[in-house]
Symmetry: C2
C-alpha cells in the first residue's frame, strides 16, 4: 500500500477533498479552459498539426496528470517550446500535413512518455540538473524568437518555411510581395489588441471601477475574445472566399483512440529529439511547479513529476494528441485563480472535452492569422535578452554558454542549439575546475591555524612546502596539482625536503587522481623529497587506506596540519612572510 | 628572441651540445633504428598502407620533432594505437590499397598536425586532462586486443576484415578452413621466438656471461633478427611461389614530397577522427615524456609538446607518411640506451633514411606473417585488464567508465569506444558532484570550532540551522542544496528562524547557483525564515557582492561561523547532540 501510494498522489489529496476545495478548483478550471482553447488550437498549428490535435492533447493528458502528478497548480497541455521542438523533430522526417506526420507526433509523445516514466521510476530526476540556468534561459529566448518568426507567414498570408531564423527570414523575404492584405489586417489587429489587453486594459478597467479580480479575469479572456470576434467577422464577410486562410473543418468528436507509428526507423530518428524534449519540458514544468508550491509551503517531488508528465504524454500518444508538458503562464493563472488540487486540471479537461464536442463547428471560420497573432503575443513574453547582460556582468563562462545557446539555436535550429548549450556548459565547468585553487600555507604565529602565505603574515619553514588544495581531486585537475608541485620544487628545490598536501577541502579522489598522486609520490621520492598528507576527511581516507599509494607513501598521513608542522618544520621558523599589499 | 626561443627548444639544448652527448645520442640512435625498421613496416601494414609509408613516417616527422619537441627521450614515429585509428578512420571512407587511401592518410596527418599546432599555440594542452586515466587504460587495452585480432589474418594467411572484435572474429571463422599452413608456421614461429626473446633470453644470456648491456641490446634486436631470418628463408625456399604473402616491391628512395587530398568532403569526414587521434596520441606521448623527464629531474612543457607533435604530423603529411606520435616502448629503449637530447631522434631519422635507400630491395621477400607476428607480440604488452580489478576495488564510477570503454571499443570500434568513454567519465563526474556533501554543524563546546552534528558532540540552537557546504556550487548541484534546505525546514520547520550557509569550502558560485540561492532566499523569506552566509572566501564574495542576491538577502553575511553563532543562537544552547555510534 505504501509503495502504491508513492505512484498515486491522488490517493493522498483525494481523501481530504471537500466542497470548499471543489468550488476553488471549479473556478480555476473555467478560467484555464477559456485560456486553453485558443492556445491549444494555436500551438497545434505551430507544431504543424491540425488544430483539433491541440484540443485532444488537452483532455486525456490533463486527466492522467491529475492522477499521477503532484503539483496542485501545474496546468499541463500543449506549450510553445515543445510544439516548436515537435515541428523541428518531425519536420525533418515527414512531410507536414500528411497522415504520417500526425502519426509521427504520436510516436514522439509515446517516446517522450516512456522516457519520462522510466526516469521517474529510476528516480533520475536529478539528470535535469545538467541543464544550467543560462542555457535554459538562452534556449527559451531564442525559441521565442524562432516561434514568433515562424508565425509571421500566417499573419502575412504567405507560404514560408524553415527551421532556423535565417531560413525563415529568407523564405519570408522571398514571398513578401505576395502579402495578403486582409490576413495582415486581421493578424496585426489581433496582435495590437492583445498587447493592449496585456499592458493597457487592466488599469483602464480598474479606473472604471471594475473589481480587480474581474479585471484580471477579463484580461485573461483577451485571446478568447479575439478568436470570437475575428471568427464572426470572417463568417459575416465571407473572408474565406477573399483568400484568408481559415481553420476549416474540425471533427466534432471526443479524442479518438490512436496507435503511434512503431516503425523502428522512425523510433530511431525521433529518440534523441524525444529525450531533449522530455528533459526541457520537465525542467520547465518542475521549475514552475516548485515556484508555485513554495508559495503554499508545499514540496514538489521531481521524480513523481516525471511520472505525472510521462503518463500525460502516453495519454497524448493514444488519444490523437502530441507531446505536452506544464505551461508557465497557464499554471500561474491556474494558481492565481485558486486551483487547490490536481482536480482543477481534471475539470479543465472536461471543459476542453465539451469544447471539442460542441464548439468545433464554430471554429470553422477562425482565421489562421488570429491564431498566429495569439502565439506571437504569447511567446514574446518568453523572449528576455537580459540574461545576456546579467551573465556578462557575473561570469564569462556563463555568458559564453548563454550566448552560444542563443546564437546556435537561432542559426542551426532548436535541437543543435540546446544540445550544444548543454555540452558547452559542462565543458566550461570542467575547464574551470581543471585548475583548482591551491594555496601555499604557513602557520599564523602562536596559533594552530594555517593560512595562505600570500594573504597573511605566517611562519614557514624552508624545507617544508605545505599546500592546501581547495577542490576535490579528479581526472581533469589531478595533472594540474602534479605540475604545480613539481614546478614549485624546481624553483627552489634545493631546500625543500617535505611536501604536505592539506586535504581539508578534498571531498573525493577519483582513480585518475589516485594514480597521479602515486606518480607524484614516486617522482618526489626520486628527487629525495617526501610526500605527506594532512587533514584527510574520513570518507576519503577510507577509500585511500587500502591503496598502493598509501602503502608506498614516502611520508606520513597527519591528522592535522599542526601535527605535520610540529613534526616537519625546522625550528626556529626562518622567516615570516609578509602579507601581500 | 625570447618569444622565438619558446617555439624552438633546439636553441636551448643545441648551445650546450658536446662530443660526450653526441656519443650517447649516437648509441641510442643505432639501437632505436634497429627497433624502428620492423616496427615502422609493420604498423604501416596495420594502418592499411604500403610498408614504405612506415619508413617515410619515421624520417621527416622525427627530424621536425627534434627541432620543435622538448623531450630528450621521446621517440616519435608510427605507433600501434594511432595506426589502428588511422585504419578505422580511413577504412570507412576509402577502399584500402588504393592511391586515394594513401592520400587520405596524408590528409589525416595534416589535420592532426594542424590541430596539435593550434592547440599548442593557444596553450590548450589542458584539454587532454578531459581523458580520465581509466578511460585511456581501457581504450589502450581494448585497442591492443583489436590490433592483435586484426593481425591474425596475416598469420593464418586468409582474407579477413572488420573494425570490431565481432566482425573480425566472424570473418576469421568464415575463412578458417582456408588457413595457409606455411604462413601460419612462419607467423607462429616468429611469435614464439619473440615471446622467448622478451621473457626468456636475457636470463640465458646473463647466465652465459654476456654483459648486461649487451644482453639487453640483443633482446631489443629480436624483431630485426626475426625479419632477417624469415626474409632469408622466404628467399631461399621461394615461399612466394608457395603462396606465402610477402611485402613485395618497396621503392628504393628517400621520402617523396606529397600533397594531402584537400577535398572538403574528406576533411569534414576525417576531422573528428583526426581530433580524437591527436588527443590520444598527445596524452600517450606526454605521459611517457613526463615519466622519462622526471627520472632526470627535467620538466616537460605540454604545450611545447603539442607543437612538436604537430610539426611531426605536418612533416608526415608532406613526405608520404601518415599520423605519428611518441611511442611508449621505443621511447623507453631510447632513454635506457642513453639518449640525451632530441638529436638522438635526428640520428635515428638518418638511420631510417639509409634503410629506405639501401635496405628496401632486401625487404622484397619479407613475409607479411612475420610483420604480423611482431605486431601481435608488441601490442599484447599493451593489454592489461588489471585496470578493471583496480577500479572495481577503488570506485564504482571509475569501474563503469573503464568497463564501458573496453566493451564499446571492442564491440563498436575504436572511435565510438573512446568517445563514449570520455563522455561517460565526464557525466559520471558531474553526477557525483551533483549531490555535494552538506553537513549540519554545531559548535564544539567552549571553542570557536563548528563540526558535523552527526559525528561530534556539539551545541546547537533550536532556531538556527547551520549547514556547511563541502563543494563549489554550480548548475548541477545548486538544486540539491535548495531541496535539502527546504526538506530540512519541512521536518521541524516550526522552530527554525535562521538558516546559515557556511561557505568555507565553496570556491565558486556559478550563475545557475546564484539564481538558485536567490530563489532559496525568496522562498525562505515567504516562510518567515532568514538566510545568512558565513565564511565566504574573498574571491567568491567579490563576485556575489554586486548581485541582487546579496542586495535582497534577508539575513547577513558573517565573517566567521562563530560570529553567526554569537548573533543568532538562542542561549543557553538547548541540547548537546550525541555523536553517532
Amino acid at each position: 500500500m505504501i509503495k502504491f501510494k508513492r505512484y498515486f498522489p491522488i490517493l493522498d489529496w483525494g481523501r481530504r477533498y471537500d466542497v470548499a476545495t471543489l468550488g476553488d478548483d471549479l473556478t480555476a478550471a473555467v478560467i484555464v479552459t477559456l485560456m486553453l482553447i485558443p492556445q491549444s488550437l494555436a500551438y497545434a498549428l505551430l507544431a504543424g498539426l491540425p488544430p483539433e490535435v491541440g484540443l485532444y492533447a488537452s483532455i486525456a493528458p490533463i486527466l492522467l496528470y491529475a492522477i499521477f502528478g503532484n503539483s496542485s497548480a501545474l496546468a499541463v497541455g500543449p506549450v510553445a517550446v515543445v510544439s516548436l521542438l515537435t515541428a523541428s523533430a518531425i519536420g525533418q522526417v515527414v512531410e507536414p500535413g500528411t497522415a504520417s506526420y500526425a502519426a509521427a507526433a504520436l510516436t514522439l509523445a509515446f517516446l517522450s512518455g516512456i522516457l519520462l516514466l522510466v526516469m521517474g521510476v529510476l528516480r533520475l530526476g536529478f539528470l535535469a540538473n545538467f541543464l544550467s540556468h543560462p542555457v535554459i534561459a538562452g534556449f527559451i529566448t531564442a525559441s521565442g524568437v524562432l516561434i514568433a518568426a515562424s508565425q509571421l507567414k500566417h499573419v502575412l498570408g504567405v507560404p514560408a518555411d524553415g527551421h532556423t531564423l535565417f531560413e525563415i527570414a529568407l523564405s519570408l523575404v522571398g514571398h513578401i510581395r505576395e502579402t495578403h492584405v486582409l490576413s495582415l489586417m486581421i493578424g496585426a489587429s489581433v496582435i495590437a489588441f492583445l498587447f493592449f489587453v496585456r499592458s493597457g486594459l487592466k488599469p483602464v478597467l480598474t479606473a472604471l471601477g471594475v473589481p480587480a479580480r474581474l479585471a484580471s479575469f477579463i484580461t485573461k479572456a483577451g485571446p478568447v475574445f479575439a478568436v470570437g470576434a475575428t471568427t464572426a467577422i470572417s463568417w459575416a464577410y465571407g473572408l474565406e472566399a477573399r483568400g484568408v486562410a481559415i481553420v476549416g473543418v474540425v471533427p466534432q468528436t471526443l479524442p479518438p483512440l490512436t496507435v503511434p507509428d512503431w516503425s523502428p526507423e522512425l523510433i530511431r530518428t525521433l529518440f534523441i529529439p524525444a529525450a531533449l524534449m522530455s528533459v526541457i519540458g520537465f525542467v520547465e514544468s518542475v521549475s514552475v511547479a516548485k515556484t508555485l508550491a513554495a508559495r503554499r509551503r508545499q514540496r514538489i517531488n521531481p521524480d513523481q513529476e516525471l511520472i505525472g508528465l510521462g503518463a500525460a504524454n502516453l495519454g497524448a500518444a493514444f488519444t490523437g494528441g502530441y507531446p505536452v508538458t506544464g505551461g508557465f503562464a497557464r499554471s500561474v493563472v491556474n494558481f492565481d485563480a485558486g486551483a487547490r488540487t490536481p482536480a482543477a486540471g481534471a475539470f479543465t479537461a472536461v471543459g476542453i472535452g465539451i469544447a471539442a464536442l460542441c464548439l468545433t463547428p464554430l471554429i470553422y471560420y477562425l482565421p489562421k492569422a488570429t491564431l498566429a497573432g495569439t502565439i506571437i503575443v504569447a511567446v514574446l513574453s518568453l523572449v528576455d535578452f537580459s540574461i545576456l547582460k546579467a551573465t556578462w556582468r557575473y561570469a564569462t563562462s556563463d555568458f559564453i554558454a548563454v550566448f552560444a545557446t542563443i546564437v546556435l539555436t537561432l542559426s542551426l535550429g532548436v535541437e543543435v542549439g540546446v544540445a550544444s548549450g548543454v555540452v558547452l556548459s559542462i565543458l566550461l565547468h570542467i575547464t574551470k575546475t581543471s585548475k583548482p585553487h591551491i594555496a601555499e600555507v604557513g602557520r599564523v604565529p602562536g596559533t594552530e591555524h594555517f593560512r595562505n602565505i600570500h594573504r597573511h603574515a605566517v611562519e614557514t619553514s624552508p624545507t617544508l612546502l605545505a599546500l592546501r588544495i581547495d577542490e576535490s581531486l579528479y581526472f581533469a585537475n589531478a595533472n594540474f596539482l602534479e605540475d604545480m608541485v613539481l614546478n614549485r620544487l624546481s624553483q627552489d628545490g634545493s631546500q625543500i625536503r617535505d611536501v604536505v598536501l592539506m586535504f581539508s577541502a578534498v571531498n573525493a579522489v577519483d582513480y585518475s587522481a589516485l594514480e597521479t598522486l602515486e606518480a607524484l609520490n614516486t617522482r618526489l621520492l626520486e628527487s629525495g623529497v617526501r610526500l605527506h598528507l594532512s587533514e584527510v576527511k574520513g570518507p576519503v581516507m577510507d577509500k585511500l587506506a587500502p591503496t598502493r599509494f598509501i602503502e608506498h607513501l614516502s611520508g606520513k598521513v597527519f591528522l592535522s596540519q599542526n601535527d605535520a608542522w610540529a613534526a616537519l618544520s625546522v625550528m626556529p621558523p626562518e622567516r615570516i612572510s609578509p602579507p601581500s599589499p
